[in-house]
């Protein structure tokens, strides 16, 4: 009998400890920044994107927005993407709760190398990979947002609409930052086929010179509560 009790206590402690190890971190927002690195994006444009994102995470308004989310901070990850087979998580997931965390993330992003040298454009591939990253990051949240930026419509993989709908079913919002330097009517394509979900919205940058200004506004809107 005594042995049985010891055995049960052992089993109970084993499950408890495993449960603690497996316990997810809770944040107020999970955010994937899905950055286009297909062949249409040259090195200067890549740098403008990275510097823009890094600058945004140093901005006092962004830090204030993070601190106001609900006390648990946000989890953020950047993915680089091009064609259907080419996506990479750049620098892993990071929890940002204050200016110190934000500065660390900004430093990382400023230096993050271009992992994928180029390729065609598969927005569906980027969305699938982002969803997968969110589902396997050991992080829980009430809001999940994929922030996909790009300068071209998909010319590879399935239509993004299919994956967008899957994301919405899982409660994920997809927002877009559309750079119309190469395809002047790309905003309509994103509006109909890419963005969606609760409070989903899109912003348009005329070219990569506008990227920093747009990503700052976009992050402020994303980190704040959705309008609809």
């Amino acid at each position: 009998m005594k042995n049985k009790i010891v055995y049960l206590v052992f089993l109970f402690s084993f499950f408890m400890s495993n449960n603690l190890i497996a316990q997810n971190i809770y944040v107020d927002l999970e955010l994937v920044l899905a950055v286009d690195v297909s062949s249409s994006v040259d090195e200067e444009e890549y740098q403008l994107q990275m510097r823009g994102v890094a600058a945004a995470f140093r901005h006092p308004d962004v830090i204030a927005a993070i601190e106001a989310t609900g006390g648990n901070g946000i989890a953020v990850a950047m993915i680089q993407w091009s064609d259907n087979e080419e996506q990479a998580l750049a620098g892993g997931w990071h929890i940002i709760r204050n200016s110190s965390d934000a500065a660390k993330y900004a430093r990382l992003i400023k230096r993050v190398p271009r992992i994928i040298p180029g390729g065609q454009t598969s927005i569906a591939g980027a969305l699938s990979f982002s969803i997968d990253q969110m589902n396997n990051n050991n992080i829980d949240s009430t809001r999940k947002v994929i922030d996909v930026s790009g300068d071209g419509r998909a010319n590879n993989g399935v239509h993004p609409m299919n994956i967008r709908d899957l994301a919405i079913e899982q409660g994920i919002t997809i927002n877009g930052l559309v750079i119309i330097n190469e395809e002047p009517f790309l905003d309509g394509y994103f509006e109909r086929g890419v963005i969606g979900g609760r409070g989903g919205f899109m912003m348009v940058a005329e070219d990569y010179r506008d990227y920093a200004a747009m990503i700052l506004q976009k992050l402020l809107r994303e980190i704040g509560m959705p309008v609809s």
């Binding site: 600058a55 002047p184 309509g188 700052l216």
Partner: protein
């Protein structure tokens, strides 16, 4: 159910044996299409499409399916398969042209998009694609535009034809003109022949047309492809440029001609900076950023815009000033003043402009840092970070900021030292002290900077030892 499993296994094997595909093998798959349900037919067509050029021999079968199939899902997949296979343009393109008038918009959309794969071989589709620019579905319009954009001079001519038409030619002619002007801009240097027509539109009484023409001109002028790199320019039966771009003399002639066009575009944009419409002014100023020191005559106008314009105008004016080159180095004090702008995006533009100016901007930044002005100091420190090693002359001034009473300034100064990357003894010692700061932002920034400096020091010592 068992049949479905067998079919799935069969299809997986099919994918794995793409290269082994032979006529009878593929014909079997085609035969299955007449018996299977819609979902299976879609799957089979998708798999056939994946055979890519190996499936050239089944193009007639696919076209036959496209013409006789009732399910629009299957038809869409057939179009995608034809796009992926990409062969037999003489047969495929007419079939796709026929699909452009399908009553289902998704079929029209897919067909218009698929024609892209055939490049100039799909030139015979231009009249139908132009009609699709008036399609009620925006998706279809966009796909038609994208395809026209890949066709070079034939579509340029067709779009110019639409721009020339009077606005009362059709009810939607105004919209068509806007769409075509925008598309000409998207074609970049390929649409250089349309520059005179676009300049004409910058003088139109309607500000929207002036705006679109300005945007198109700046895209055409901003496309830095040299004439010899634009395939069609070298083709004898096509317009504007003479044959033989690979010969040095001709190449120089093309380059000179392109320069003349660029100067004309810059002059037009300079003129548009005085336009009564603010949006047109903004587009013109932003456009000047593409032309480097060619925009120098606008310097005073840009400084004025930087100080008095809307936040957006101030930002783009700074961007242009940053690209003017050495002849505009006297704007550095104005750029430093812009660090104190109340708009965050203007501040960031000024930081980036000073980064582009490099070492030359450091003395003015040091001078202004000594004022310890709350509206300037943080952005001066951020600029030193962006300048990195180019700000080495500012190290002593940054070291002083490590003792500032404002914690944010201490953190920014620590980061600037890390980015400048000069591992002097005093910098390392000061950062070691700062690591103990009670403010987490300060201590973590000091720790990061210290790691950076020690890493750089190690590299330098290793290099010295190797020598």
């Amino acid at each position: 159910m068992i049949n479905k499993i067998f079919l799935s296994i069969f299809l997986v094997l099919l994918i794995n044996n793409v290269n082994a595909a032979d006529y009878s093998y593929v014909k079997n798959r085609i035969a299955m299409l007449s018996e299977a349900d819609e979902k299976t037919r879609v799957t089979i067509v998708q798999e056939l499409g994946r055979l890519s050029s190996n499936a050239n021999l089944i193009i007639p079968d696919l076209i036959s399916i496209l013409e006789n199939e009732d399910s629009h899902k299957v038809k869409m997949e057939v179009i995608r398969a034809l796009e992926r296979i990409g062969g037999q343009a003489n047969t495929t393109v007419p079939a796709l042209i026929k699909a452009l008038s399908d009553e289902n918009w998704e079929i029209r959309w897919s067909a218009a998009g698929a024609l892209i794969s055939f490049g100039k071989k799909s030139a015979m589709a231009v009249p139908e694609l132009i009609v699709l620019l008036r399609d009620p579905e925006e998706y279809v319009q966009n796909a038609a535009l994208a395809t026209l954009g890949k066709m070079g001079p034939i579509s340029v001519a067709a779009m110019m034809d639409e721009v020339v038409k009077p606005l009362d030619y059709a009810d939607d002619q105004f919209k068509m003109r806007i769409v075509c002007i925008r598309s000409l801009g998207a074609l970049g240097a390929k649409a250089m022949i349309s520059v005179p027509l676009l300049i004409e539109n910058t003088e139109h009484e309607n500000p929207l047309l002036r705006l679109e023409a300005a945007l198109a001109l700046r895209k055409i002028g901003g496309d830095d492809s040299m004439p010899g790199e634009i395939g069609w320019l070298a083709e004898p039966d096509e317009m504007v440029w003479p044959k033989g771009s690979q010969i040095e003399g001709n190449f120089l002639m093309f380059a000179e001609a392109k320069q003349m066009v660029l100067i004309t575009i810059v002059n037009t944009l300079l003129k548009l900076t005085m336009d009564p419409d603010l949006q047109v002014q903004y587009a013109a100023v932003k456009g000047l950023a593409n032309f480097g020191n060619k925009a120098l005559p606008a310097k005073d106008k840009l400084i004025n815009a930087m100080n008095r314009g809307t936040p957006e105008m101030r930002r783009v004016a700074i961007d242009v000033l940053a690209n003017l080159g050495e002849e505009a180095d006297d704007v550095i004090p104005d750029l430093v003043s812009a660090l104190a702008d109340f708009d965050a995006n203007v501040q960031w533009a000024a930081i980036q402009a000073l980064r582009k100016k490099g070492k030359k901007s450091v003395p003015e930044l040091i001078y202004m840092l000594e004022y310890d002005d709350d509206s300037l100091t943080p952005n001066i420190l951020r600029t030193f970070s962006e300048l990195g090693p180019n700000a080495i002359a500012a190290v002593d001034n940054v070291l002083i900021m490590l003792q500032h009473s404002n914690a944010d300034y201490r953190a920014l100064a620590a980061e600037a030292l890390g980015e400048i990357g000069e591992p002097s003894e005093i910098a390392i010692k000061s950062l070691n002290i700062l690591k103990q700061d009670k403010n987490e932002y300060v201590s973590s920034s000091a720790e990061w900077a210290l790691n950076e400096l020690e890493r750089i020091k190690d590299i330098r010592e290793n290099n010295t030892n190797e020598e």
